[in-house]
Symmetry: C2
Subunit: 189 residues, 2 copies
């Protein structure tokens, strides 16, 4: 019946609403302030409704993290394909740092909070897509070394810059300089 489809559509819409509300709240006041109660009030439903969509609070965080992974992959791809020839690495790396700086709570969900977000061989496609973007710019530098290992190394270096920078553990205002240093190490190695 058509009614059934409308139901499912509305349900999917509400699920998206939950995820985006959680994300907004986290980005505004931190993940600690994202409680199931407040989230329920925000979307104007009672708490059990949330549990009909997600297994628990953790699953909501996971959903936000997954959304973040998708957006990150997209941002990296946009940066790479939109870059001048020969400047893809700089563009992608910059996009990674920009993404982390622009969406700190989202980044936190992806790399600190999410428990059910699998990496490795069984990782969701969006994660693999993100890694593929990094691979596309790092692998050409591998030479005789394993390109995947080199990509992992480059990613980790970039990631460290992002997280330490976000937490105020590196001197502010010098992120560009650090990125320049890092990339020079990689293109010259």
């Amino acid at each position: 019946m058509a009614t059934q489809q409308r139901r499912e559509r509305e349900r999917a819409q509400r699920e998206a609403l939950i995820v985006s509300a959680a994300r907004d709240m986290a980005e505004a006041d931190g993940w600690a302030s994202v409680t199931v109660r407040r989230l329920a009030e925000r979307i104007e439903y009672s708490q059990p409704v949330l549990y009909s969509h997600f297994a628990g609070r953790g699953a909501i965080v996971d959903a936000v993290a997954l959304q973040g992974a998708a957006e990150l992959a997209e941002a990296l791809e946009r940066a790479r394909t939109g870059a001048e020839e020969g400047e893809e690495l700089e563009a992608v790396a910059q996009a990674y740092l920009d993404f982390a700086a622009a969406n700190p709570a989202l980044f936190e969900a992806m790399f600190a909070l999410a428990e059910g977000l699998e990496f490795g061989p069984n990782a969701p496609d969006v994660l693999k897509a993100g890694f593929a973007q990094l691979y596309a710019v790092f692998a050409p530098l591998a030479g005789d070394r394993d390109p995947e290992t080199l990509t992992e190394t480059g990613w980790a270096a970039l990631h460290g810059l992002a997280v330490l920078g976000r937490d105020g553990r590196l001197r502010p205002g010098l992120q560009q300089d650090r990125l320049a240093i890092l990339l020079r190490q990689f293109v010259n190695g």
Copy 2:
């Protein structure tokens, strides 16, 4: 009076007991399982006693993080001074990764949980001491670049390797290869 001193000594001892108990529990079952109630039961005191030592649960985490910073600084220094000439960088970098792998909960406290742990100019001495160890091995590679910025970059790269590796986001068993790649980029740059 001498009694007063004994009191203070016992008090300091109990404070250390709290910190080490929290650390042990976190390392054994994760930080989520470190609740004030369980911690109180573990040290065989009631909860308010904890609050006479620390402002709250967060302050206990901070104390653990500070202890971790001290141990990390010590481990790095030991690695550096104990290394063969010319291999200080490898030794220190390896020590950093080993420390993160051996004390995941401690590392989490330091870089994800601690809220009251200041970095930058007002950072506690132990943190500066740790950075100084990194500076000692990275700065010589700076050439015409700012040695502090290069150190920050090297630290970040190393840190990224540590955290992504710890969370299972890089293929296991290849940490050595990645470190080798990373260091080669830095010594050749």
